[in-house]
Symmetry: C2
């Protein structure tokens, strides 16, 4: 058994006990290392990071500029099989693998994960810092506010929303000339190459054209957001105050992490690029069908100012003292659900050749890994050497035909006793994920996240099925129970996979084909035999194509609980027709997102929400009840 | 002329030029000192503060605990005469005075001011960091996000709002028994002294009583908030989604700084006290008329967790390197509009005997100083030695009968040329503020904030009127043009006033009289001859008295533009009847707030909002266009 190295590092030795205590008890039992020590160990000088308290720091983009000439480390993406509603331990595996690489295999390593939404933290899900002996700490700081990135997104998103309604209101109540006299209009004129600045020199048509955006209220796709599970905001009517003169409108709130600004943050590569993307976000159309952007509203700069600190990823640490970069947010359906490009890029430079960056892709690999490859890597230009697929016996049994797994209800007997046949049947799901992930060119490793009820026969059945399906390797891990020590074999396998990776990244589809052809390429990877478009979807595809947006990659908004649109279709369904209900566009972030079925973008609170248990010990200042 | 001392301090010498450049140009021309140096100069050790970047730090409440035995410094409150819509430089004077005391008079000094709302920053008002050569820097960090306190308030406020609607929804769709089985109910049972925990042992009435809050939707006073000027949220309908089964309700958003949680933050004295106050916030009544609290909803602990970092004030610096504590928020109508008690308390210990804490009270002294004395000092137990009233020739001319002053329009000729008679006539307003402020026992100093168009004859007329009205002193200051050097005379006067203060704090009203008697005492100080209550106000006073809340202090929600309810009534109106339209309660924060006329709690964006000018220079990272 290896032991934690300590000479060259700030790593911390874990005292592991059994049975595994609660997540918060483990997190609270460890004294975090001052984050400046973690930064120092990464060779970050104080001018390249800003402290946010003692255990968080923002790593500034200037670090990336300075390291521009350095070589990258190995790039590993962690996806999963189609999960049960309980989750199969993707974050836990991401963290555990890094603890193994950093604290046991003496590698330079950085974990890249997403900031959790506070909505689920207080709602149904609890925290998202990993679990057991593989966690990011301090757990409460990770789950609450962090360094304010999501709050900045909320502020920017809602400033834009307020600007839209107020703009329509002012255009409807004021003359062309009064509107024109706002001097921002002169800038807009300049943009259109007109040098006349005296309104009297312009024809009424010219004044009208440049002073009015003429937004079609029915076309507005920009909604307000809030980082709270507030179901009563799913559909609302605004503008009912007497001063708004009857300009009422139906709209809705989404959860903040579903904001296009979150997607911009995840996909941007620099401050200049972020300014561009925020400015070109499309909020709807003019009555004549032209896209209206944030810059048309004169607000792109203000949005960038609100987001200027959020662009810097947050440095934290694992239970074993390895570094973590937390950045961007969790929504893997209407967004792409990956950590940010800038975090991954900074991490790759910081670990350098021979080091490892392990980045998590949200939801099952059909969504997370697919978007990682076709959207995120396309924009970043990075190539992963290794793609991990996390699998559990529990989820494989479900895919093999086991009874439904429901959050909050006890697991059926089938999941607690040996049933190799069920596991083997379920491996069809795993096999398709392996096949799809392998097609991108990376070496695929299956990480079997072992539970105490799993038997050797079951675990070995998965290993065999994985190798048969073309995985580079399949490894049983126990990082939840043992920390990094439980993922040492996985770490060794990942190292070998990275060292032996030779293929370039192959995308699932090129960008220069039509929107429908791209959708169909992805649908095929799900096992669909065809795609069916609603009338609305057809219209939108036509509109976006006409507006010149058809060259963007596709971000499918689909359930994570099946390859298909039907969450109940487990395993590896084939022969189904994938229904596209609607198609939307995140032009600033840079993708078109088709809606496969109904996607809720605002969760609700359950009858027994997590907040019942959460409190502060006001004498020690410690958070209690966070899970 | 004195020059900035440098031996014993981290103070910075200002190079003052004339004419005064724009605020942002001045702010950007100065390299801020690393905040750890500022902290060090205050004898704060690193365990008592958390860095938030290089120029902000949260000073932890533990500093207060450690200094419990130390003696306090002098306590100075800055109010103003009834202002014009342009503002009379209260923040600028607060900052300038501190620059004088710290950088020129070699005193230990801390400025205590409020965090600005981002709504007006992007809307109509611009930043709030002072002005000219008397500013808090970095100006952009001061005006944006700061250390996330307002974002935390937004999150906590809206989590509670979501919990209210969801609770009503679940109570309307689920059985008593199902609701009862949420185990938080067992805690609620215990609170009521019932030890039975098996639902079957309870009578249906007992189950019903403890499982249901039975909130009357029409009684809900808790609204959602957003730190954005979003007029379309002034009146909205929520719950229109199909899943909410028709449980629609009319409600509204306020701007975040108007949240009761902001008032709690400003008035709390410790973590334990904040937990209590957040838990006892009343969100409405049950159908039988009992108040329903945050703790009844099981959410007091979660709110405290969301607010646990916000309770620590943020350390920043002035242009001349003196320390500033920024805390709590700006709404001086439905809140009390003062900086926080904890910031003032920490500051008083840090400066120690002979040092000065200068704290700003929002709006005119009829609102800001009155609430400072009767609410804030009542809860803190602190006594100010000196109350400053900031006056300008401009505002006094308006009170003397000058034409209306309108934001965004050029000033009338009357304000730009000498007119001593107009100034003298306007001093009636100043005189009443002096009289009212003096009644609390502090020595009153009038700070005449000099503009370049003011003449000596005008300035001397104000000095004379101030002394005639009983001011301890009246001093002409030019800190906007000259920084601390321009407020040295004011500093000397303040020092003398503090050293010679002898009286204890005398409140305007005792707590143990009725709500109406308290309202009438305040109305009398405005010059009113009586008070008129609407039917709604009468009903609410009766309700709050019945619910046991009549012993709280009163926080009048009144226009700041007149002593009366009529913003157009300038000078020192008398003989009017003050109308009370409604009465509301912030039970957690600890006050009753009568609404005098209509108070907007959600500003709007103007036709030409500030955000048009705001952008980021993406090569330097510098914010441009913030004013």
């Amino acid at each position: 058994m290896m032991t934690s190295s300590s000479s060259s590092s700030v790593m911390r030795k874990l005292d592991v006990v059994s049975p595994v205590p609660s997540d918060i008890d483990i997190a609270n039992s460890v004294q975090p290392i001052h984050i400046s020590e973690i930064a120092n160990h990464l060779n970050l000088t104080p001018n390249h990071y800003d402290l946010y308290g003692k255990y968080k720091a923002k790593v500034l983009l200037s670090a990336l500029d300075e390291l521009q000439e350095s070589k990258d480390g190995y790039y590993v993406v962690v996806g999963g099989i189609t999960p049960t509603p309980l989750g199969e331990g993707k974050s836990t595996t991401t963290v555990g693998l890094c603890q193994a690489l950093g604290a046991f295999l003496d590698k330079k390593v950085v974990t890249c994960i997403r900031q959790p939404s506070q909505g689920p933290t207080f709602g149904i899900k609890g925290g998202a810092a990993g679990g057991g002996y593989s966690q990011v700490i301090p757990m409460d700081e990770f789950n609450l506010h962090l360094t304010g990135d999501i709050h900045a997104i909320t502020a920017a998103n809602n400033l834009l929303a307020a600007a839209i309604d107020t703009r329509i209101f002012h255009e409807s109540t004021q003359s062309d000339k009064a509107l024109f006299n706002r001097d921002v209009m002169f800038r807009r004129l300049k943009k259109f190459g007109i040098s006349k600045t005296n309104p009297d020199d312009l024809t009424p048509e010219e004044v009208n054209k440049f002073a009015r955006l003429d937004i079609d209220p029915d076309s507005i796709t920009w909604r307000r957001v809030m980082d709270i599970n507030d179901r009563f905001l799913r559909k609302i009517t605004v503008g009912q105050g007497p001063d708004e003169k009857g300009m009422v409108r139906e709209t809705a709130f989404d959860i903040s992490v579903a904001s296009e600004i979150m997607a911009v943050l995840a996909l941007t590569t620099s401050l200049t690029d972020m300014r561009e993307r925020l400015g070109k976000m499309v909020i709807g159309n003019s009555k004549s069908g032209d896209p209206v952007t944030a810059d048309d509203l004169g607000i792109g700069g203000a949005l960038t100012v609100l987001m200027k600190d959020a662009i810097h990823p947050t440095l934290m640490q694992t239970l074993e003292g390895t570094p973590v970069l937390v950045h961007a947010g969790p929504f893997a359906n209407i967004a792409h659900g990956n950590s940010s490009i800038v975090a991954d890029k900074i991490a790759l430079k910081l670990v350098g050749p021979g080091g490892f960056v392990v980045t998590e892709a949200g939801f099952g690999a059909d969504i997370g890994t697919e978007k990682f490859m076709n959207i995120k890597c396309r924009y970043s230009g990075l190539t992963p050497q290794c793609a991990i697929i996390v699998a559990t016996i529990r989820a494989l049994k479900m895919h093999g035909g086991g009874p439904a797994v429901v959050a909050g209800k006890p697991l059926d007997h089938a999941y607690l006793t040996e049933n190799v046949a069920l596991v083997e049947a379920g491996c069809a799901n795993l096999a398709r994920h392996i096949l799809n992930s392998k097609a991108y060119g990376a070496n695929v490793i299956v990480a079997i996240n072992k539970f105490s009820t799993d038997t050797d026969a079951e675990l070995n059945a998965v290993k065999k099925a994985a190798l048969d399906a073309g995985a580079y390797d399949a490894v049983i891990c126990s990082h939840h129970a043992h920390g990094g020590r439980g993922a040492v074999d996985l770490g060794i396998a990942v190292q070998k996979a990275c060292e032996n990776a030779t293929q370039p990244l192959k995308f699932l589809y090129p960008l220069d084909i039509g929107i429908k052809e791209k959708i169909e390429a992805i649908a095929k990877s799900y096992g669909a035999s065809g795609v069916e478009y609603s009338e609305q979807a057809e219209k939108k595809i036509e509109l976006y194509t006409k507006q010149g947006f058809s060259g963007l990659p596709i971000c499918m908004a689909k359930t994570q609980y099946s390859f298909s649109d039907n969450a109940a279709a487990k395993g590896a369904p084939t022969g189904f027709i994938l229904p596209i209900r609607d198609v939307r566009a995140s032009i600033g972030a840079g993708f078109i997102y088709p809606l496969v079925g109904t996607m809720s973008t605002m969760p609700g609170l359950p009858t027994r929400p997590c907040f019942y248990d959460i409190d502060l010990d006001t004498t020690t200042g410690q958070v209690i009840g966070l899970s």
